[in-house]
Symmetry: C2
Subunit: 432 residues, 2 copies
Amino acid sequence: MQIILLSGGSGKRLWPLSNEIRAKQFIKIFSAENGRESMVQRVLRQIRETLSAPVTISTSRIQKKILRKYVGAGVEISVEPCRRNTFPAIALTAAYLRDVQKISLEEPLVICPVDPYVEDEYFTAFEEMAALAGTSNLVLMGIAPTYPSEKYGYILPETKEKVSGVLEFKEKPDAATAQKYIDAGGLWNGGVFACKLSYVLEKSRELLGAASYSELLENYSALPDISFDYAVVEHEKNIKVIRYGGAWKDLGTWNTFTEVMDTAAIGDVQLDGTCQNSHVVNETDMPIIALGLKNIVVAASPDGILIADKHQSSYLKPLAENIHRQIHFAEKSWGTYKVIDVGDESLTIKVTLTAGNKMRYHSHNFRREVWTIISGSGRVVLDGEIKTVAVGDVVEIPVGAKHTLIAETNLKAIEVQMGRDISVEDKILWED
Amino acid sequence: MQIILLSGGSGKRLWPLSNEIRAKQFIKIFSAENGRESMVQRVLRQIRETLSAPVTISTSRIQKKILRKYVGAGVEISVEPCRRNTFPAIALTAAYLRDVQKISLEEPLVICPVDPYVEDEYFTAFEEMAALAGTSNLVLMGIAPTYPSEKYGYILPETKEKVSGVLEFKEKPDAATAQKYIDAGGLWNGGVFACKLSYVLEKSRELLGAASYSELLENYSALPDISFDYAVVEHEKNIKVIRYGGAWKDLGTWNTFTEVMDTAAIGDVQLDGTCQNSHVVNETDMPIIALGLKNIVVAASPDGILIADKHQSSYLKPLAENIHRQIHFAEKSWGTYKVIDVGDESLTIKVTLTAGNKMRYHSHNFRREVWTIISGSGRVVLDGEIKTVAVGDVVEIPVGAKHTLIAETNLKAIEVQMGRDISVEDKILWED
């Protein structure tokens, strides 16, 4: 068995903690032995504790480095050249397993989102799904619904047995229709599929016109933006569903997100004794005081502050999409950056590099920069000249000068950017 | 008639917008012709629109420069050498009017807090009070109560006439007792007194042992920390009260503060259509989104974030007092400073000087600093050497070096402070 985890895109439904760079699976909400744990880390830990199957994560180019930082070594990462829907992503990953990893065509795959909040039983079911993949073309996991949700697709099984054939698939319904599906034994489609590796490659050849890794990679941007459900699952006749009755949550809104928090507050927060069913996640360095809140979620990051009634929090997306300012905090493979001041023709950033890391060697056409080292030591390369730097050193980088910063210890610097057209686009990369 | 406004101390009851440096009277909450207006500005405008009497504001040394910035010229400011209660402050101001301003002993004074939220009628009543000051030693304003408040002292008048003698004063009661006072015709004591200048000086001589400006100033720290009410008003037999029935609010808690806001949101805020009776004041540059809030106040500044049920907001003080970090934003006579990053052995500040202003010439024993000019131009003095600076210039200030920054235009700089013991106390002032 091979497990493919789909590390989905970014979104604004958990603004200000998720954004174009940071997807929700990277938010650290769970208490763990060493500090806090994110969804992707929790899922990988659960897989390791319940199964011995190798894991490959399919993700976008933009997420690759941050993902590697979160999952460490021991997991394969298959990178989409650009964002497409789940069918191209699954096809590319299957072709990668076949052509690069030389996995047998007979090998069962279990494909699953990277961030379900579930019990271990969910992952042990993967073994059963993999075994059934020899008996049908496709095996789905059906989640036992807990309420008539309008957010999920429904699978109508032929019988009420644990493993059953599939009568029909239903798109996201309204609540009344959802209740009818539930009364008829309907299950949520949680996006978990099992099949043989050969099956994905056959469908890829048939529907995308190619099944080799090199071809798919080369033509990726021309592939249709289509989901695996829509392109494959809903047309398959030889299909089974296996019922999962354990806890399952899709942490897609602040409301569900706070349901799985194991503490009412994360970060510098004081909640008074009259707060009820309220949660505060504070990723800023500003203190928060909360008094008398009922059913409220508060989330604060350098990108903004959300205060929402929990139920109403599911209507966040359009308001978050009104906000167009640049991202103020991002994790990078080499460390983090945080925008700490925005001026008319300046931008001030706190750059944190972890020991042994460096920025890429680069230059800017429209801005000069000043670095002041506030912690640690390392080396600066400026137009080919190498210089060691430590706390208190100042480096002035003229417009056009090639530069990089290399951290020997953990290193922090204040970077002041100055110019008329400051933009993340103004970055020319050079060979070291 | 001379008006004395008492500009009270700072407090934490409107945290994070009021703090040790910024008192609540400086928070800009009202829409005005040119931007926004604070309480002290509103009160001075109302006085100018209704009366022609000169105004003297009694304040602390720490507030003097910021107060001058808010009130402009045309108002006298009497500065307490250190904070004492209202009796020493009133005595010192009266002595200042007599000895420095040469005001007649017969001149009526009206003494009033700097920040009541009232209608113009309140100020026109000052004329009547001043006229009555010839007929009794002391004239008080009694505020017609709107509910049995436990927060105010009560005045029990002899009659229900507009002007009456006083039967008795009552300390802050519980709600039931307050209701009894109200049923008996009791009025709130809003801290407005009228009397002749000579009366204050007599009381000062009698109770504080001095009545000249120089003596009071010199011995100020030794004067008792006692209120005018307690020391003088409650012992006076020849006293009248004049009834004021118009709107009156003491903006002492977030709940009352939001009652007078003329807009639901100040700053970068999106409130969705399901918010009710909720107010957001955002003084940060981070966007705020509020969804489905009912009876909630949100206040955000670089010093912190408050989210409170409006009723519960009156219990803020003890929680705000738990926060001991340094103030992150302050207005100065020369401009503003804002802490934008706090490191283990560094502090980064954005300094904004308005054109024509300068810092005081100073040095530090325990930190070096780096200034990067991000906007405007001016001059730097570094150990006696003068240098012009403009955008992009970097100035390195070693430990012990005397330095100042002089703004020719409006000027902004990022100041990185580095050292083991960074503290506002580490500042040695020098003659220019």
